[in-house]
Each structure stands twice: as structure tokens, then as C-alpha cells.
Chain length 214, copies 8
């Protein structure tokens, strides 16, 4: 893997057999490969693929992802990553972040659908996040949740805009722009980029764990 980040393949737009071939070629050099945005057809092809000895296919259905790895779970890094989502529609993208962080050896805690029901329902969720090293917060439509979380928590927050609206700005643009304009101190990844958000949060968390062990 590149500087601690797992190999990942964006399945979208690749033929099933091409996808299998690419995945297998990655496994020659890596212990594990993550396949994101995988379709049912592609999944079927992966299930039939001749995996190398000791390798195993894990399907992460809610994340629309698959992992092929030699040995699971990965070696624990000691890092802890929290993943929150504002609505139910944001869950697949949030899950992509979670799977990525776990592949990087992080423990994860998730709290989904906490953004719509009003701020009172948010507090218990945030409490469960108190010992996390980094937080990924996924939100679509107006994308407010990450800024609210960043205003309340000490851990670094990665805002993850999601393309789950309609009308003007509904492809995730409103969420992206409002996160970029936020008065809270937080950072942003691209719309629907669960992989990048999860990997960045895990990078921070692993660094924190390494420092704790020094």
C-alpha cells in the first residue's frame, strides 16, 4: 500500500472481468484490496474469481464495497475513527469511509441518521464519539452536520458531502460549498468520496496511536 493507505479500485465503469483481473493483479503486491462502488454484476464476478491462497472476499453490502484480503481483521493500529451521517441516504457513503478505516487497522464507531431530528438527538451520539481520534461526518442536502460537530468536538472533523438532494445544489454541491464556507474549523473531501474521508481520518488516528505508544 501507498504510505499506509490500502489499494483501492473504483469499480464503476469497469467490465466485471477487467475488474477481477485488476483486483487479482493488485493482490500480487498487497495484502488486501478495497473495491468501491461495486455493482451486483461485478460482485458476482468477484465471487467466482480464483483468489490467491489465503485470500478471502468480504462483501460490505451497505457500503457498496468489497474487500479481498489475506487475513482479516487487519493488524490493529490502535487508532479510533468515528463515522456519523446526517440522514439515512448518506449511509452508503459513510459506510465506505468506515470500511476503509477498518482496513487500515482502526477501530470504528458509527452513529447514523443523527442530523435531521434536531440537535437534542445529536448529543448522545456525540458522547459515544468522545474518545475517537478523528471523525468523518457525512451529510447531503445543505450539509450542516459536520460544522455543528466540529463546533462541539475536539477531534478533527472531515466533512463528507453526499449527493442526496434534488433541485439546485442537490448533487452534493450545496453540501460541499456550505462545508467549504463553514465558520467551524474543519476540512472537506469531494462529494461521495467516502474512501478518501475514511483513509484521511485513519491516517490521523494511526498517527495518534503511534504517538501514544512512543
Amino acid at each position: 500500500d501507498r504510505i499506509g493507505v490500502p489499494e483501492a479500485i473504483l469499480a464503476e465503469g469497469k467490465g466485471p472481468s477487467d475488474l477481477v483481473a485488476i483486483a487479482l493483479s493488485f493482490l500480487e503486491a498487497s495484502r488486501a484490496v478495497l473495491i468501491t462502488r461495486v455493482s451486483p454484476d461485478q460482485l458476482a464476478a468477484l465471487r467466482e474469481a480464483p483468489l490467491p491462497a489465503g485470500a478471502e472476499l468480504r462483501v460490505e453490502a451497505r457500503a457498496k464495497a468489497a474487500v479481498i484480503s489475506k487475513g482479516w481483521p487487519p493488524e490493529p493500529s490502535g487508532g479510533k475513527v468515528g463515522v456519523l451521517s446526517a440522514g439515512t441516504a448518506d449511509i452508503p457513503v459513510a459506510e465506505e469511509a468506515r470500511v476503509t478505516a477498518e482496513m487500515m487497522g482502526c477501530k470504528t464507531a458509527v452513529e447514523y441518521d443523527v442530523g435531521v431530528a434536531g440537535i437534542h438527538r445529536l448529543f448522545p451520539s456525540l458522547e459515544k464519539m468522545h474518545d475517537m481520534d478523528a471523525l468523518v461526518v457525512a451529510a447531503g442536502r445543505e450539509g450542516t452536520l459536520p460544522a455543528v460537530v466540529a463546533g462541539l468536538m475536539e477531534a478533527p472533523v472531515v466533512g463528507l458531502p453526499v449527493s442526496t438532494g434534488y433541485g439546485a445544489g442537490g448533487g452534493g454541491e450545496a453540501a460541499l460549498l456550505s462545508m467549504l464556507q463553514s465558520c467551524s474549523v474543519m476540512v472537506v473531501v469531494n462529494i461521495d468520496a467516502g474512501f478518501v474521508a475514511g483513509a484521511f481520518a485513519a491516517k490521523i488516528a494511526k498517527m495518534a496511536a503511534k504517538c501514544r505508544n512512543m
Copy 2:
């Protein structure tokens, strides 16, 4: 005036003497005229203008507006309009809304700069808004405040996006889009359109007052 809305002149881009001429011509048919986005030069010309008998110039400095009216205050309508702003930079646009509502005979209450300091400072401000018939909420940058207010208050909320950011979406577009995408039930006017927001809120407030008096 048109269906209860005051005559208004957008001063921007008009020569000082043209502006005076237009304002005076409006006063032939109306009791009052509102002049918005007025520059120091234009203001000087208005101060020297020969007003009709009984008419008076009021300068609303923070609103960058002026009012020429025969008789002030206007006849009370019984309506009550609250105006909030998220930051200090949003105040001129919020003030344009306030002046407009007052010209329409509404009582106003204002709470400015309540959005940045965290939600705890918002609650006392909202308390002061509890008997308002309608609320105008001005916000720039990510424009979150109107949705938060709409999620907590029963009065109808008019979101007023303000062009006070920089970078991507900083001309008010992020605020506009995030208000349009909001999960709260609220409506929106154009970026910096304090006049429209104030007039619409006052329309609702006057209707409520009329109903109370039936």
C-alpha cells in the same frame, strides 16, 4: 403602494440627480418611498433635494438606506417582525429588511450576530422572538442560521442569504443553496435582498394582525 408594499428605489447605478428626480416623482403618488443601497454621494443629493411639504428624509445609516415620508412613524399595522443575523457582516442587509418592515407599519425586534458563537448564545435571542408573527434570518458564508431557527420556532422563517464570504460560494451562493436544500420548512429570497425579505415578512405579519382584529 403596490398591494401594501412600499415604493422602493434601488439607488445603485443611478446618478444622484436622477435618483432625486425618481424619488420625488414617486412621492407624488405615495406617502413614502424607500431608497436602498444608497451611496454617500446620492445621500448628499437627497439631503439637498426640495422635498414636498410635510415630507421628511430619514437616513438609516446601518441599512445603507433612506426613507422619504410624509408623517413618521407609519400607521401601526399591529404586525410584529423579528430580524436576526448570523454575523456582524450581515447586519446592513438585515437592517434593510427591518426598515422595510417598519415602513409597512410593523413593530420589529432585532437580534444580530447570534450565529457564530455557538447554539447556547442563540436560545436567549430566540426567546425574545417568541411573539413575532414572522422572522427574517440573514446569514452569509454557509448560511446555516435560518434552518436552525426554522427548526426551533413556530413562526414562518424567511431565509436571507448574504454575500459576505470569499472563495468558492462566497458571493452568497453557498448560503442560498444551503437554504434551498434545507431540511427545515422555510423559504428564501435572493442574495442580499433585504427589501424583499422584510416586505414579505411584514405581509404575513399584517395578515396575522388583521386576523387578530377580526
Copy 3:
């Protein structure tokens, strides 16, 4: 429900069984739930769902919506909401607004396809709207109708842009921008956001009714 607004689920993009599950969970806490942008598949699943005792599924075909509620019609609020559409293509979105207002206990009156045939055909339609507390006006393409109505009627007008054009601005952007730029005093919701328009109009109407009863 949140401050008088009905619970609503955006069906688009949700699996049929997920949708049923979410709807049923809402019904644990609420008397009624609105499901918008529902597909034939999703409708079939809703028809087979085991509803709680006393609950009933209403299909609003023209609105592409469904309502599950315990007891229909809802308790009357005394509010009156008028809904107009410019063309026939705008009707589904206008209907979403009407259903929402009715769920909130408002009486509704509708006048559809009044915008294209010239202003003379508009007057009789407006006459039927004279005792409405608030108006929703849906329009696609150039989106002119709401401003015309707002210039003629005293009731507050909520402009509802619809994505029924083609070419530049045809996804509702021309309608949205022209409503935001309107010289009439009116407000706007997002493109195709019938639910928000209907709920906001009903909020105003219920407030007026409450004031009438004070």
C-alpha cells in the same frame, strides 16, 4: 411532527423494503407520514406493508405521493391554501404541495394550467383564490406566473420552480432565477420542492386561522 410539519420521506433512491421500514418506524411516533416521489415498485411494497392498527394508505397518484395515516382527514386547522400551476407539466409538483397542505389540516383550492393561455384566462382563476390565506404558485420554463400572481393578490405567494423545460436553464434554473430576481414581493423554495412550498403556505394559513380564532 416537527413544529406542526408532517413527517415526510423522500422515496427516491431508497429500496422498497427499506422505504417500508422507515415509514413504519415513523408511524410509531407520528399520526401520519407523507411519502414523496414514490415509484410503482415502492408503491407496491407499501400496499403490502403490515400497517399499524387504524392506519390506512392513501395513494395520491397525480402527486406521485402516498400518505399513511391513522385517521383521515386530519383535524381541520381552519387555514386555507391555494395552489396554482402555470402548465400541465407542473401539476405533479403542485399536487405534492396540495397534499402536504391538506395533511396539515388546511382546506385547499387548486387552479392548474392557467399560465400559458394568456392573462385573460388567469383572472377567473385568481378570483377563486380570493379568500385563501397563502398561495403556492408552481411554474416551469421561464417561471413567470408567481410574480404575476404576487403583483395582483394580497395573500403571500410562495414561488415553486419546476424542472419542466429543456435547453439552457430548462432544469428549473431559469424559473428559480427569475423568481429570485422578481420585482414582485414573493419568496421561493427549491426546484420541484412541492413539499416545502405546501408546508410553508400551510404554516402561514394555520397561523392566520389561529389569529382569527383569538
Copy 4:
């Protein structure tokens, strides 16, 4: 001139002496040249320029234009062009259209500031346009007026969007898009392109005059 259209120079961005040089060189081959968007500095230079024998400078102040021509008025073509504007802010651009049409030998009639005050004030203005061969209709902000005129008049209507708004779409984009999306049969030129609108209308009017004389 090119196929009956007058030579025209866009003054904006040119140095005063360069502008004079270009204008003079045009006058070697043409009877007249139109200079648009001219600044006070450029005008001063034009006033001091050594014009060819028989040539004269006309300043069209409201149009922000100047004409240098050998012999004025131009030979009458028999064509008649009407020019309307929605607001006062649209007048300079409308005037640019009028001057262009007059340079092309057309009679013109103008009606300005007819769009805001409601449709009743529009009818007398339209009556004055009844024998025009073509109409230019300038409008900023939401740009509705051309479509209204095109729906009521038989003469061809050229929509002329003007950059006189603010906020989203306020640089003339809302007007342009709403004219392109119009349900009326009409055509459009670029934002602030008074010259093109005037020249196109004059082209039609001259053709009609020629046909009348056949």
C-alpha cells in the same frame, strides 16, 4: 457597411487615441460609424479629433454612444422600429438599440419604464407600437417584459436582457435564461447587446419597407 449594418466600435477597453484612430479609419470606407460604451475620456478625445470633411460627431448621452457621420439624418428606409424598456435602469441599453436603428434609416418610437408598474400601464404603451415593423424589448432582473409583449403583439419581438440586477442571476443571466425559456415566440440577443438588437430589428423593418414598396 456590412450588408446594411452600420460599422460599430466597442469603445470599452480601448485607449482614447486608439479609439480615435480606429474610428477615423472606418470613416475612410463608410459614411458613418457608431461608437458604443464610450467613457467621458474617450468622448473628450473624439470631440477633439480631426474629422474628415463633412463629418460630424453626434453624442447620444443616454445611450453612452457616439456617432460620427457624413450627413445626418441617414436616408430614410421606411422601416419602423419600436423600443421598450421594463425599468429606468434598462434605458441606456435600450437607447443603444434605438440609435442603431436610426442609423439604419428607421423611424423609432420608444416607451421606457413600462414594465414595473403593472400590466395596466403597459397597454397604452403597446398601442403606440401598433404600426411598428419590429420591436426591441429591454428588461433586466427577471426579464419578463419581452415575453408579455410577444404574447400580445403581432410584430416580431427581440428580447434584450440587461445586467441590472444583483444577487443570483443579477448580471443579466436570469433575464437571458427566462427569455430563452419563454413560452412566447420571440428571440434573444446577448446581455446588454443593444447594438445587435437594434440592428436586427432594423433589418426586419427595412425588409418590410422594401416589400411595401414592391
Copy 5:
């Protein structure tokens, strides 16, 4: 019909039976109705529809349009409209313009696919257009052809941008913008708006014919 323009229905997005119903209702008041952007399913429904006595369905396959009319051809107006297209991909939209002009009683001449092969192949096509009263010029991609034609021909040119490119600006935006920016005197309609272009050109042509007959 409205001021001489035929009734037209945009079929896109309407259910086949709704479309039939709307078409039949139009025929109660009009001699003919044009149906644009019609799908095979909609066409099948139209073929089976119970037309009023004397009415006939004409399918204009290349135009993706249908006409239902009582009596064909329409009464000749004496107007002549030329229609050109730059490429083969622009033909359907150009044909929509041609059909519209013919419904308005105009004679038409068409020259398609004249824009790509170099300017030498254009001249013979333009020769055939020399007695036309107005020209519609359809072009996609960079949309150059209308400006070239307008620079060479005396007849008024309506530019018709077509959505037949790919990549940046390929949805017709490049063509639309380059027509709006053209140095030639010409006007523009919306992307793919063959109906508007054809109707506007026919309006001019009918006026010319009327003037010839005075």
C-alpha cells in the same frame, strides 16, 4: 392559435393517453396542433386516437414531430423560410423548425449538412436561399454556421443551437454562447428550440408577404 403561431404540445414527459387528451382538447378550438419531441409509444397512441371529423394525423419522422390538422396543406401565406443545418446530427431540430414554418403557411427550402465540409460547399446552398424572407440556421458543437450565413446573406438569420456535442460545452452551451457573442447581426433561440426558431422566422416571412401584397 396565438397571434398566428400554431398550438404546440411538448410531448416529452407526458403519458401517451394524457398527450392524446391534451391534443384533442386543443383541436376543439384550433384547426391544427403540432406535437414535438414525440416518442414511439406516444406516436402509437396518437395513431389510435379518435380524431375529430376531417382531422388527419401527419407524422414528421425526421422532426420527431406529429401534426394533427383539419385540412392540409395550410392556407399559403406567401412567406418563404429557409432552413439550414451545419451537420447531420442537427437535422431533427432543423426539421422541427421546418414543420412549424410550414404549419404557418410558409414555403420552405432546406439545405442540411452544409457546415462541416468547408466554406466552398456552402456557397451553392446559400444561392438556393437567395429569395427567402428569413433563415433558420441550426448548428451544434461550436455553432459557427449561423454567424457565417448572417455575414453573407441579407435575410434575417435566427441561430438555432443544437445539443449534439460532448465534453465541455457539448450540450449546446458552446453553440449558444458563440451565437450570442457573434460579431454578425443575428438572433438566437434556446438550445434545440426548433419550434421557436421556425415560428419566429415564419412570423417575419408572413409579414414580408403581407407587405408585398399591400
Copy 6:
């Protein structure tokens, strides 16, 4: 300060005396305040302002920023933040990030103008960054540098797009989009948002330092 982040005032658009007043009011509750995008006029006013006892004004000229603080340097946090810029034009924004990180008690190392001269000149700069806890990488135009750094370094990289180009995408949009699309694992802040980038990097660095001390 809010969760460890210094109070900051965006000076742009504020009157000099208003700015002084806001800055002084912040100092009642905070040890220090950062003033960004400060103009010469505003700076002059700040220099004359009656600071509270023990407070001192520091002007950070290259950052176009000022700091008023009671006691400097701030208490060291043990965190280490590296700041790189691709070109010389990016330095003011990079410096804003550096000042922010230093106000948060971090040690900083800077390497400016390392992006243009080719990758060979980058390696020595990166070597100097090897013990940093987090990196801010500022880049305008095509904004490539952050991705290159993120592909080579283990420390988390915050991409900071800068508005220093011209032409299409030159206001920082090309840099922002290319950072969002990067194949490297990195995060992004808004265009020119040096404050946010510096504060986020310092947050991570302080967490790392705290972990080292556990």
C-alpha cells in the same frame, strides 16, 4: 477560544473603527485575537487603538494579518506544523496558515516556492518536513503540489487552493477541483482559507503532541 482555535476576525469589508471595536471586545474574553485580510487603513487604526494592559499588536505583513495578544509567544503545545507553497504568489495565504498555527502554540517550518521548479527541487524541502505532525500545502493555478506531497509524505496533508491564476479556473477553482479529484489521500479547505488550513493542521499537531506526552 472555541475548542482550542484562536478567535479570528475577517477584516475585509469592515470599517477601521468597527474593526478596532470588535477586536477589543474579543480581547475581553480571550488572550489573543487574529485579524486576517487587513488593509493599510485598518492597520493604521489598529496601531492607534488603546489596547488592554499587557496586550501587544504584532503585524504579520506577509500574511496580511495582525495579532493582538497578551503575552507572546503563546504557550508551546509541542505540535509541529509544516507549511509549503507552490509559488511566490501563494505566500500570503500560506503565511496566514503559519501565523494561525503559531498562535495555537505550534512550531512551524516553512518551504515556499517549491512547486514550479520541478520535482528535484522539492525533495530537499520535503526532507525538512520529515518530523512535522501535519502539513499545509498552498497552491494556485492547477494546484498540483498538495497531491504530490501527499503521495510522498506520511503526515496528513491539508490542501490549500489559492486564487492566483487567470482565465478559466484561475480564481482558485481549478486548484480546488483538482485537489478534490486527487488520487492521493488528502483533504481540502476553501480557496484562500489559510486560517482554516492552519488551524486544522495545528489541531492535529496538538493532538499528536498530547498523545506523545501521555
Copy 7:
């Protein structure tokens, strides 16, 4: 062919039999025709088409293209064109460039998927390109590769942005803008325009070959 460039047909959006007809008509005047973006259905029709004597259909599957030519390979021009791609997803567009260059009689060398794995894997690929006369470099997402190659190689580089991302800028806009903003000296074609990139590179290469033979 036009100035040495092969005739090409964009198959997208054409009916299979129309496509065959257009291709055959091109073959009357040309030795060869290139068909790009061809679908399986269209390919089937081409396979069954009655080709002129001596003509042959070549299917270039990875390029999603077909070539019908009388005599293959084309006469060698002596030019040499290198084609590189950043990722695997960019290969079809890169292949379209390669096929075009080969049709123009150029020798080609390809190096695909060299952009993601880090700069060290790029050097051997560039070595293989050292005697090329011109280079086409295809890249999606952030589109960095062409600028890197242009900074290292003496041959002229044509940047070819590819629409293989997702989220903001993912339709090739980020790649296009970053290539336009590049600090390297390079040029750009439209998103996915493999044909133009290949033909331009071949034009240069043929000129170089011609000069070598002088």
C-alpha cells in the same frame, strides 16, 4: 480527407442504418473512414454492411472505434506519436488517439496506467517515448500527468482530459481546468476528444518527418 486528417464519424446518437449509410458515402471520396464511440448494435450493422471492393472493416475494441479502409496499414508517414494514460479508466480515450494517429500513417508507442503508482514508475515509460515527435497524454480526475510529462520531455505534449471521475469536477472539468492552468507549456483538447488529440499530434509528427526528409 481534410488537410491530411482522416474522415471521422461520431457514432453516438446515430441509428445503425444511418451510420452505415454515412460511412459508405464517405468511402466514395476517401480511402478510409474512422467511426468513434461505436455501440455494439452499430458495430453489428457495420459488420453486415456491403463494403466497397477492397475495403475492410477493422474493429478497435479498446478504442470503442472502427475503421473502414481500402488497404491497411496506411502509407507510413515517418512520424512517431506516443500515447500515455494516467489510469486504466483513461485507456479507451487514449486508444482513440492512437488509432487516429495510426490512420494518419504514424508509428505509435503506448504506455498506459503510468500516472497513479507514483513518479518512479513514470520514468521508464518516458524513456520509451524519447524519440517520439509528439505526445498525447490522457488523464482523468485531477489530470496532472500531462503537465508532469511536459515538464520532463522535449516533445510537444497534447493534454487529453478524460471524464472518469465523480463528484465536483468529475466529468472531466477538473482535468480540463487543471491542464489549462498548468505551469508547464502544453496544449489541451476537449474532454474525451481522443480523435482531435491523436490527429493534432500526428499532424506535428508528419511535419517533423517531412522536415527530416527534406
Copy 8:
């Protein structure tokens, strides 16, 4: 210099003394430096700067550029670059391209203002370009000229869009998009990027010259 391209400094936005310092530092390693978009103030500072022995400042007024070089003219490369502009407003940007090509040792020929007056005036200009190795064609507004030239000439054409319009697409976007969408085989650089266009054309021309000398 970098692979044969001259060092260049974008003067815009740099302080005069900073600019001098950067220019002098470049001259330590290079024989010459190009300074583009230089203001009068900056020019004054350059005139007073202590140049290294043998270096000389050349001011290229029409190009808004300056060159400091040790020995002028540069060693001839044998390459020949033609530069054309559509209008007079495009000349400064075209001149920037010319100066760059000359700094790279190329002979240049220029033909300006050839695009507006109709195609007949273009042919003599093209004749003068017949032995050029590469052409730069600058055009604003609709940006048609480069495609026309590329359709008529065998030499490779670099399209150079210029920001000299107004209204929609007038900042050079219409020109850029129409060049990207062109049916001719040509390439594009960013809006106003005369330096890149000139340097790329010179690169090709130098290669051709080198091949001639082999």
C-alpha cells in the same frame, strides 16, 4: 530555461520591488527573462533596476510585456511562427505570444485584425503564413477564427481565446468553449494565455527546424 522554454514571470499582483527582485534572481541562472502583464508602476521599477552586466531591458508595449536579456536577438533557431488575431482588441494577447516565440529564437510573422471583415480579407493574410511551421490564432467573443484557419492551413494551429467580449460568455468562455468544440483539428490554451500559446508554437517550430537540419 526549462526544456527550451524561457523563464517567465506573471507580473500581475506582485509589488514593483518584489518583481524586480524575482526578475534579477532569475537572471542569475538564465540568459533572459520574460515579464508579462506588467503595469506602468512595475515598468518604472524595472527601468531603474540595477541589471547585471551585459543585460538590457526591452519593453514590448503592445504586448504589455518586458524582456530582460543578455544579448538580443536570441540565437536563431530556424523555426517560424505565425501569429494572427481576429480583432484589434486581441492584439495585446497575440503580441505576448509573438514576443515569447521570438525569445525562443523563432522568426515571426503577424497578421492582426483579419477576422471581422469577412473571409475575403483573410485569404491574403493566410498566404503570408504559408511557410510558417506553426500558427497561433487569437480570437475573442465567439472565437471562430482559429477553426477557420485550421480548416484551411496545413500548419498546426494553437487557438488562443481572449477575454474581450461582454455579456454571457464574454470573459473568453464562449471563445474557449467554441474552440474546444471545433470540428477542425486544433488545440487550445487558457483564456489570454499568450505566453503558453507562443511557447508551444515555438516548440513545434524549433523541432521542425531541427529536423530540417538533420
